[in-house]
């Protein structure tokens, strides 16, 4: 088991906006203030509010099946696989969404592999990713921010979409990855994860 060094981060939101109580639970995995430092776990800071809200509903409903969110936190001795979001009211999900949307995403890694980065830049233009996610890849509405998201998480997600093994996501997104080579997904994930928009 590795230890998490909790970095002392400069305040990312005004003192007047206290985080919702449940945010402390989210931060355990998704990182200090939603900037993930854990392998394969996405950052949620700076994601569009509607995107976060919709995903929280889908996770609470069990439509997005994320086992780690089920088994990490057990509510009470007799609960059987109760999840972190079971019975959480819509209003609280909306509040969490507002909270994380208002946090600035952490700076991306500066180290990059030039060839992979350039290939990813070219592919994300050719594949028109910016039509939905915007040319800056900061996302909007129900479409997530890709710029600065964790490379490992994005690669995992794109692979799962290509293999048609995701539930509760827009089929338009799933079909946009039909037939794409895995090495292309690697390049795209590498490029997007280095963008500091």
């Amino acid at each position: 088991m590795a230890f998490l060094g909790v970095a002392m981060l400069a305040p990312l939101f005004s003192a007047a906006q206290k985080p919702p109580p449940r945010a402390a639970t989210c931060d355990v995995c998704h990182g200090p203030n939603g900037n993930s430092v854990l392998k394969d776990i996405p950052s949620i800071a700076g994601q569009p509010k509607v995107f976060i809200e919709n995903q929280l509903v889908m996770i609470r409903e069990g439509m997005r099946d994320i086992p780690q969110m089920k088994s990490v936190l057990q509510n009470g001795a007799n609960s059987e696989m109760k999840g972190t979001l079971d019975n959480v009211q819509d209003s609280e999900l909306t509040e969490l969404a507002h909270h994380y949307a208002s946090i600035k995403i952490a700076k991306p890694p500066t180290q990059k592999q030039a060839d992979l980065y350039n290939k990813g830049e070219r592919l994300s233009k050719e594949m028109r990713c910016g039509v939905c996610h915007l040319p800056t890849f900061v996302g909007r509405d129900q479409m997530p921010r890709l710029a600065g998201q964790r490379e490992d998480y994005m690669l995992y997600t794109m692979r799962a979409m290509k293999a048609n093994q995701v539930v509760g996501r827009d089929p338009n997104m799933i079909t946009s990855l039909y037939g794409i080579a895995d090495e292309d997904l690697q390049a795209i994930a590498h490029y997007l994860s280095r963008l500091s928009n």
């Binding site: 590795a2 998490l4 392998k39 809200e53 919709n54 909306t94 479409m143």
Partner: protein, 407 residues
């Protein structure tokens, strides 16, 4: 998906390591190679567009928060919020005992709404389904999702009845895109099910897509009735001729004004054009074919380019004035693939019984504002109540309206 072992966290500050691991191998693979991404139909001319699907709302809306005064109807008609706090409401099927069953899409729920006379209460019958829809026949609720067919027998008397799983009989195709289905039982007692094309524009990967089929209620006797139907999400039978009339969504990324969404009459064995011919007369620039529109069935009406034509219901009640009898009502959810939005309304198609002389007119508007291009509601499906009032689901707000008429 496999479950992975995790370490329980003891207190803040300790990290647990997770691995997402390999993808499960249990999913079905498509019969043939899926269409490559470049076939999704965006030309270079579209490269700088930022048109994208509209964001749905998955949280509940209360009636008090619905700006109902903005809804416009012809003189004599009025509207009220009939049921609220049912996020994602789409198809409405009437059951027994004052109960109505309502399907959704991404939220995965099926609601049972009970009409107590002055108020409505709701419960979730089943959830966690992949885009479920509903139909009701002979005391049984039918639920069909992308990958399941379930039947709840006698659900009115036995609310907790365990469903019968009919999935294996129905031979469902595996692709998810355009695979939410509107289903309904016809006058012949058979279950009609369209299967949309799993792409914006492509040769479907196998023959089982872009078609309308019917089955016996138990899944036997499958027949393909029509081919080349890109994505039909609503249909009904003409009250006089008993012929099937169905809506169809045209492809995206072909400009603001082409192709139209369309309304059709079913000709058994007919071909409706997809992918090489749209709206009966428009050759596709990406999937080419010699004389692509020869022999293609012509639409009854053009329903607006990218308007998102949804639920189809012929009005047969006595509450509305006689001029509305046998008129086709169609909800249009509203466009995303168009710089100027259209739809966000319920329209009427008045046509001869053979489909000729069709005229499309507005019935229920006010969900969008053309001047500033804002919108607040998305009418999706319709249901005529026993007293002749019309229920209209608003998928965006997750409420159902009741439209009634009095002199």
């Amino acid at each position: 998906m496999k479950y992975f072992s995790t370490h329980r966290f003891k207190q803040l500050g300790l990290v647990v390591s997770f691995t997402l691991g390999a993808l499960s191998a249990q999913a079905q693979t498509p019969a043939a190679a899926p269409p490559p991404a470049w076939k999704q139909g965006m030309s270079d001319a579209m490269a700088n567009s930022t048109l994208a699907p509209l964001a749905g709302k998955l949280t509940a809306t209360k009636a008090a928060d619905v700006p109902i005064n903005r809804i416009k109807l012809p003189p004599g008609f009025k509207v009220e919020v009939w049921a609220d706090s049912v996020p994602g409401s789409r198809v409405i099927a009437q059951g027994d005992g004052g109960k109505y069953y309502v399907g959704t899409r991404p939220l995965g729920r099926v609601y049972e709404i009970t009409d107590n006379g002055t108020t409505r209460t709701s419960r979730v019958v089943i959830d966690k389904l992949d885009q479920p829809t509903v139909a009701y026949k002979d005391g049984a609720l039918y639920v069909m999702s992308v990958d399941k067919v379930l039947r709840f027998d006698g659900i009115d008397k036995n609310p907790n009845v365990a469903p019968v799983d009919l999935t294996a009989k129905f031979n469902l195709p595996p692709e998810k895109h355009h695979n939410w289905k509107y289903i309904a039982f016809g006058p012949d007692g058979k279950l009609y099910v369209p299967f949309g094309a799993p792409c914006n524009i492509c040769e479907p990967p196998s023959a089982e897509y872009a078609q309308i089929r019917r089955y016996n209620a138990d899944g036997s006797g499958m027949e393909v009735l029509a081919r080349g139907v890109r994505n039909s999400v609503g249909f009904d039978w003409h009250p006089v001729t008993k012929e099937l009339w169905f809506s169809n969504h045209g492809r995206d990324w072909l400009g603001d004004d082409t192709p139209n969404d369309t309304m059709h009459r079913l000709k058994v064995g007919g071909h409706y054009g997809f992918p090489s011919c749209h709206q009966g007369n428009l050759p596709d620039p990406d999937v080419k074919k010699a004389k692509p529109c020869d022999g293609i069935e012509q639409p009854v009406a053009l329903m607006g380019p990218h308007a998102a034509t949804m639920g189809v219901t012929f009005y047969t009640g006595n509450m509305f004035p006689a001029e509305y009898r046998n008129v086709l009502f169609n909800a249009r959810k509203g466009s995303w693939n168009r710089t100027k939005k259209i739809g966000h309304d319920v329209v009427m198609v008045r046509a001869d019984a053979d489909g000729k002389n069709a005229k499309v007119e507005p019935f229920m508007t006010g969900f969008s504002n053309e001047a500033d291009q804002t919108w607040w509601g998305r009418p999706a499906y319709l249901h005529q109540m026993s007293d002749g009032a019309l229920l209209v689901s608003d998928e965006q707000n997750g409420v159902i309206y009741r439209v009634s008429y009095s002199k």
